[in-house]
Amino acid sequence: MSYIKALKCRECGREYPKEALHVCEYCFGPLEVAYKYDEIKKSLTKEAITRRPANMWRYRELLPIEGDPTVGAQVGFTPLIRARNLADSLGVKELYIKNDAVNYPTLSFKDRVVSVAISRAREMGFKVVACASTGNLANSVAANAAACGMESYVFIPFDLEQTKILGTLVYGSKVVSIQGTYDEVNRLSSEIAGKYGWAFVNINIRPYYAEGSKSFGFEIAEQLRWKLPRHIVVPMAGGSLITKIWKAFKEFEMLGFVEGIEKTRVYGAQAAGCAPIVTAVKTGSELIKPVRPNTIAKSLAIGNPADGYYSAKVIRESNGWAEDSTDEEIIDAMKLLAETEGVFAETAGGVTLAVTKKLIAQGRIPVDESIVISITGNGLKTQEALQGRLVLPPVINASLKEFDGLVKSLEKKYAARG
C-alpha cells in the first residue's frame, strides 16, 4: 500500500505526479514528497512500529516507496548511546550520540537515503543508478547497486580520500573522477542526468532520496522512548539531513507519537573552511553565499548547498543556532569522541562535536537539558586526516626488560609481581 500522494513544489505548492522529477517547471523550486497523512494516521501506531524489525523500514508508511524495499532492507536502527564520559568531559547532564558510523552496509547515514532512492528508482523502471558524491554517498550507491544487481556510475571530485575511492571501486561501480569541486561535479551530473536518463539519486530522484534521512530523526525519537531531544546538533553539507530530521520530528508530533516540539532546538554544524549556511544564520540573511571549500571535512565540502536556504530556516524556526569549527578543532574533537566513548567518527563527526562544545561554552545549549550529537560517518574512511596527529607507538625489542623500562618512563604504578 502506498501512502505517497504526489510531489509538491516547496515554493509555489504546485503538485506533480510521483515520477522522477525534482524541479518545479513553473518556478524552479525543489519538489518534495507529499503523503496521505490522513490514511497514515488511521493505520500507523507506535505499538505497531515497536513490534517491527529493528531497521529504518519500521517507519515505512512515512518513506516514499510504493512496494517493499528491494535493497537495503537491513539499513538503520543504529545505536543511540548515552554518552556519560563525554557528558562529564563537556560538563553536561544528559548527552546522547546517534551513531550512524555503524550504519549498514557502508558505515554512514547515506545508506538510509540510498536504500530509499534505489528502491524507488527500480519501481520507476530505471536500470542505471548514479550519483554526484563527496564520498559517503559514492560508497553507498556502489554497494547498494551491487547488492541488487544494478549498474552504477559514481561522479566524485578528484581530491577525495583514497579510502572513499577504493571503497567505491571495490563494488564494481564505474567511478568518474572530475577535475573540480563537488559543486562542479554536481553541475556536470545534472547535465548527464538530463542527457542519459539515469537515476541520479541526489538529482532526479532527490525528492524520494532525501526522505530517507527522516529515519535518522524517527529513530532518535523512538530510542528516547518517544520523546524529542531538547537540543540536537547536525552536520550540514548540502543541508538536507537537518531539514529532514526536523520534518521527522514534526511528522511524529502530527501523528501524536511525541509532543513538545516547540521545546526542541536544532543546531547546524559546518567546517570553518566551508560554512555558507552558518554564515547565513549568523548574519540573519536569507541568501546563501556560495564559497570555495577548503577543509579536511571533505564529506561536508559543499560550497553551494542545495538545501542551504531551508536548513537556515529550520534553524531559525526552532530557535537554534549554527557554528563552525577549524581543522584543528575537528581533529581534537575526533580524538575526544574516540577516547571518551569508543566511537571513531569521520571528520564530519569531529565538526559536529567541536561545534557542540562551542555552543555549550557559549551558553546557547544549556548544560542540564537533553542533547543529541549526530554522528553520520565512520572514522575508518577518513584516516588520512589523522596522519601525523597521533603519537605513534613506541618500538621496543621483544624483551621484558625493555618493556619494564617503558612502563617506568610512563611514570605509572602497576601491581606487577616480582
Binding site: 524541479v23 518556478c27 524552479f28 523550486g29 525543489p30 553541475r187 545534472s190 538529482i203 548547498p305
Partner: protein, 93 residues
C-alpha cells in the same frame, strides 16, 4: 544597441525557442519589464508577484550574481549580458 539576455531551456517555449534575445533597459528591473513586453508570461516565471526575484532563479550580469550586487536595481548598460539560470540541486542548468 541592446542588452543580451540568455534564456535557459525551460523558458525557451516563451521565446519561440530562442536561446538569446535582445531587449532594452538600464537596470535589471527595466530589462525584465522589456523582456515581458516582448515575451509575455516570462516575468512571472522569474519573479514573485511583488517583483522580487524567485528564490531558485539566479540572474547574472556578466557572470556576476545580482544578489551580490544591487539585486534588481543592478545597473545594466548596452553590450552587457544578463543570464537567467535556474538553481538546481546546488548546481546549474
Amino acid at each position: 544597441m541592446a542588452v543580451k539576455v540568455r534564456i535557459p531551456t525551460p523558458l525557451r517555449k516563451l521565446t519561440g525557442g530562442k536561446e538569446e534575445v535582445y531587449v532594452q533597459g538600464g537596470s535589471v528591473t527595466a530589462v525584465l519589464d522589456d523582456l515581458e513586453r516582448n515575451y509575455p508570461g516570462i516575468k512571472e516565471r522569474i519573479c514573485e508577484g511583488d517583483g522580487k526575484l524567485r528564490r531558485f532563479v539566479n540572474l547574472y550580469v556578466n557572470d556576476e550574481d545580482i544578489r551580490f550586487k544591487e539585486n534588481m536595481n543592478t545597473q545594466i548598460k548596452d553590450s552587457d549580458e544578463l543570464s537567467i539560470v535556474p538553481a538546481i540541486a546546488g548546481g546549474f542548468f
